[in-house]
Amino acid sequence: MTALNTGGRLTAPAAPSLARRRTTRRRAGLAGYLFVSGYAILLIAFGIFPTLYAVYLSLTNDRGQFAGLNQFITVVQDYRFGPAFSNILIYLVMWLVILVALTVVVAVILRSRMKPRLSAVFRFLFYIPGALAGVASVLVWMFMLDPGVSPISGLLNALGYGTFSQVIAPQNLPVIFVFIAFWTGAGGWIVVMYGALNNIPDEILEAARMDGAGPWMSAWFIQIPMISKWIAYMTILAFAAGTQLFIEPQLLQAASLGRLNPTWSPNQLAYVLAFQFGNFNEAAAVSIFLLVIGLVGAGILVTRSGLFKADNE
């Protein structure tokens, strides 16, 4: 465990500056607040305040009366609540497992099994789709998924899909959304994981090599444990983003002229409740469920991985 903690150097570059900061703490104080204020103000205006407003809405009814937990009870009993949350659960499990497994494996290969120049080219290629905005990337996938126009129509036909409507059958949807999410999101994480692997001192790998560890042995016993905090960090962010899946099912629903359930994901359910039924209170209750799930998930990962534990001094 001690070895792991020294290795997971989330704050490694900050270490020397820490000493410096101690001597200049008083003078730096004001500037520090100034630098933080920009983010803090935006966070309060567009993060904290809307969250508190959602809490307020979820505990009241549309006449502004206190409704206790009744809104939560009502949405849990809604016929769309269970399917939406089970859809997102299936999606999340697939997405997180694939994301963690593939980004780490790819990053390890790029770091230790490839010439640096070639590795740089691949990192760039992996990152490109992530630079495409969310909506645009979904539109790209609309074409990819329609055998009539898709560049991979041969593959789709080989899988037995002759039409767009066969491709977007309900049981395929989690897989499709994982593909889209991986394609847009994984490249960035591969670059981050690569950076994390770079942080591992060469002496450690050197020592492992001298002790007879092959490349896979050092990957499994040295590299991956030493970037475990980064993996936890990635999982927390991907989990939070994954629970909020919205654009992908929403656009696919519109493009297929309604062949998808309009409340496939919980966020879509909140959207429909708010804007179609005018029930902002129930919508807020759904979003509070997502908030709690996200916080609990993050809490477990943070405490289990020791993400916020600083290095032993």
């Binding site: 009814n61 206190f66 009744n70 039409t163 409507s165 309604g258 062949r259 179609q276």
Partner: protein, 459 residues
């Protein structure tokens, strides 16, 4: 941060936990102590409306779908002194809720409403009522803005979806009575006669499947195919028996006769389960469409615009009957409406646009769809531009069908397309039969109906 602080952190953590537990149990206690119900306020139908301060020079914002856009632009061209802001949107087609979503937001912010919108009849069900206790119903009662003689000239029943609480909240742009479309050139070439009953239609399907495989007599993969087929079969899927009681009885023989007919034709591939706007369908199947059961706008939109079938091939026949029935019943697929915003600052200009769009010969006589306004419909039928595409005169079939639209398929507060598209069509794509999917379809409609507050009966 240092290891020495860890035990301290532990105690503070424990204390925090205790506080949190106290807070949670306190709030649960409050919650259980009885508080206001979570149910939404019920809003009464708007009886009359409060006009905004009128300004005869105010710009009017008009929302139209891309099909109706040229008509609005033509009005602007003919009336350059009217200040107009023309916006294109999806026109609420295919079960879209864009307009409803936006109006919900405008109602909350108290501004932004368009003055005039083109929408689907479904939209009138929510637009004629306030979205919240503090809001005013979006749609203005048109009967207080136009003369009753204008309203009386709309085709019989065409304004029914617009009416609520004794007021009329929209003017119908077009009606979309379902007729029997056929490709005269191909039918003559193969030596087939156009069926007049559904039983003949099914028999022809079996014949085509054997003699000319690949050719089809229709398709069911569109988000409105249920309106062409099940509505024509008088299936009680969306039957408002009382203003707030919806009858959804898909096990009725009037539904199963259609589902088993379609199942047999889907099985021998004389009916396609694809959507008519699908690229593959247009490329491979569209040239082999012998017949189609569909609305009056299929001619110009689907055959001419979508399939690019050459002129002089397509013709329309009367709706088909069932053996033993003397009169035909037919469906209605869409047919847009125009609504005027009750929040408009320039009701006079807004009303003038809507009146011109729905009733003028200048616009409706050349409209892409069949006018709901009777005098304009006569001009429309006489307009050679509307008839020259077809192999023979379609006016007979159109007028007959317009009088045969079955009234038991009600305009409900939710779109009849959602359940069909998201439950039935994926099941068909997966190879299930329609008859086997009826229970799932019924369950989906019942869920939707209950969610918007209907009492549901399934008998």
């Amino acid at each position: 941060m240092k290891s020495s602080t860890v035990p301290m952190l532990g105690t503070s953590k424990r204390r925090a936990l205790r506080v949190a537990l106290a807070v949670v149990s306190f709030s649960v206690a409050i919650a259980l102590a009885g508080c206001a119900s979570a149910s939404q306020s019920t809003t009464t139908g708007a009886a009359g409306f409060t006009k905004a301060k009128q300004d005869s020079k105010a710009t009017i914002t008009v929302w139209a779908d891309s099909t109706r856009l040229p008509a609005v632009q033509a009005y602007q061209k003919a009336n350059p002194n009217v200040k107009m802001n023309i916006v294109t949107y999806d026109g609420s087609a295919d079960g879209s809720t864009y307009l409803q979503t936006k109006v919900q937001l405008f109602d909350r912010t108290g501004k932004g409403w368009p003055d005039v919108v083109f929408a689907s009849p479904t939209d009138v069900t929510w637009a004629s009522k306030a979205t919240s206790p503090s809001a005013q119903a979006f749609a203005a009662p048109v009967d207080e803005l136009v003369s009753s003689s204008t309203i009386d000239n709309f085709a019989k029943g065409s304004l029914t979806p617009c009416q609520d609480n004794g007021h009329t909240y929209c003017l119908r742009n077009d009606i979309a009575q379902v007729v029997t479309w056929y490709n005269k050139t191909l039918m003559d070439k193969f030596g087939y006669t156009v069926p007049t009953t559904w039983e003949q239609y099914e028999a022809l399907g079996a014949q085509v499947a054997k003699q000319h495989p690949g050719y089809v007599l229709g398709w069911v993969g569109d988000s409105n195919s249920q309106e062409s087929y099940f509505w024509s079969s008088q299936c009680p899927a969306f039957d408002l028996v009382k203003p707030n009681t919806l009858r959804v009885a898909l096990s009725s023989p009037d539904c199963t006769r259609m589902s088993s007919l379609l199942d047999s034709m889907i099985a021998n591939k004389s009916i396609s389960t694809q959507a008519s706007n699908n690229a593959t369908f247009i490329k491979d199947t569209a040239p082999k469409v012998l017949m189609a059961v569909g609305p009056s706008w299929y001619g110009q939109y689907i055959f001419n615009g979508g399939f690019k079938t050459p002129a002089g091939q397509i013709a329309a026949a009367n709706p088909m009957t069932w053996d033993g029935d003397t009169t035909a019943a037919t469906g209605n697929v869409g047919g847009g409406v125009w609504m005027i915003s009750s929040h408009s600052k320039n009701l006079a200009a807004a009303t003038a646009v809507v009146k011109w769009l729905t009733t003028s010969d200048a616009n409706q006589g050349g409209a892409p769809t069949y006018p709901a306004y009777i005098p304009a419909a006569k001009v429309w039928l006489a307009n050679p531009a509307n008839s020259k595409y077809f192999a023979s005169d379609v006016s007979g079939a159109f007028t007959t069908a317009a009088n045969e639209v079955w009234t038991g398929w009600s305009n409900t507060k939710f779109s009849d397309a959602t359940a069909w598209s998201s439950v039935v069509l994926p099941a068909l794509t997966a190879g299930k039969t329609l008859t086997a999917t009826l229970p799932a379809w019924q369950a989906a409609i019942v869920d939707e109906a209950k969610a918007v507050g209907y009492t549901v009966t399934t008998k």
